[in-house]
């Protein structure tokens, strides 16, 4: 996949606004002012970043475990069943990330549920449907303050 080219405005936008989006009535106008462009240009730049999937969205990042509960789960799926099992896992509304990884544990996904009972029920459903044990590895501590992604490494 080729790296999409960013316009100078998009580059500056990503440098400045991965956090601290203004909580004002007109945040895009305020951002535009700080970047010395007009509001329509700024909204177009954001729309283009979203359409090209360079950003997944502009909005809040919620802290895990503050709303409901979650865990990182892994399955060791026989290779011939991986596609079907992965497709099933992705259909679950409790799954928000699902990655195939090159390991004996070859399917990794994040489960988010309203409470522990709900989480246990989802895990039980996965185990019954797949016939495989779920390895559940809930976060115990976090050692990173997420301030966004450093774009200067790209240059």
């Amino acid at each position: 996949m080729p790296v999409p080219s960013l316009t100078a405005l998009q580059q500056r936008l990503l440098d400045r606004f991965q956090h601290r989006l203004p909580l004002s009535p007109t945040p895009y106008a305020d951002m535009a002012k700080r970047l010395d462009v007009d509001e329509a240009q700024l909204i177009d730049a954001l729309d283009d970043l979203q359409n090209k999937h360079i950003i997944s969205r502009i909005g809040p990042v919620f802290k895990p475990h503050r709303i409901g509960t979650s865990t990182l789960a892994a399955l060791s799926v026989p290779s011939q069943d991986l596609a079907a099992t992965a497709a099933f896992i992705s259909t679950l509304p409790e799954v928000n990330h699902n990655y195939a990884r090159e390991h004996l544990f070859n399917l990794w996904f994040v489960l988010t549920a309203t409470d522990e009972a709900h989480l246990r029920a989802v895990i039980a459903t996965i185990e019954t449907t797949t016939g495989l044990p779920v390895m559940s590895l809930p976060m115990l501590r976090e050692f990173h303050i997420d301030l966004g992604f450093q774009l200067n490494h790209m240059r």
Partner: protein
């Protein structure tokens, strides 16, 4: 704690803010409250840590960081706070978590997500982490993702 309006606001914003001239007003109309209240509730969730940040959320893959290595480490439990913080401050690390071991098949207790443009870059960065952890790490592995099958923001279910 969160009340039903907060929950509705989380639902309405987890896929992103509207790209309208007054996005908080747009949300306010959807939720049947006024825009000042939307802003105040978002500010409160920022202040109490429910929202970590509000901004543009880049997609690492689309930015050319296509090698995503989940590095996992078996480190001394007694030192995990110090060791975790050492890794968490590295600028190429996007997530750093302590998780339980699941012995015997899973002896790793520290998860460090490393992003690079290719696997060679991820391996160099992983070597830097290994050097930092030194003798306090018994073993480690890099798990590369070969496919993203689903990725959405947090969802309330």
């Amino acid at each position: 704690m969160l009340d039903p309006i907060d929950r509705a606001l989380i639902h309405a914003t987890q896929a992103g803010l509207p790209l309208t001239v007054r996005p908080y007003h747009t949300l306010a109309v959807q939720l049947g409250i006024n825009a000042d209240e939307v802003i105040q509730r978002l500010q409160n969730m920022l202040d109490n840590g429910i929202i970590r940040r509000i901004g543009a959320i880049p997609n690492h893959y689309a930015l050319g960081y296509q090698a995503n290595g989940m590095t996992v480490w078996d480190v001394d439990d007694d030192l995990i706070d110090e060791l975790g913080l050492c890794c968490g401050v590295l600028d190429f690390v996007s997530h750093c978590y302590q998780r339980p071991r699941h012995c015997p098949e899973w002896p790793y207790n520290l998860f460090v997500m490393v992003h690079g443009k290719n696997r060679n870059e991820v391996e160099q960065k992983t070597a830097q982490i290994a050097a930092l952890l030194g003798v306090h790490c018994r073993q480690h592995q890099i798990l590369y993702s070969n496919r993203i099958l689903k990725k959405t923001g947090l969802r309330l279910t």
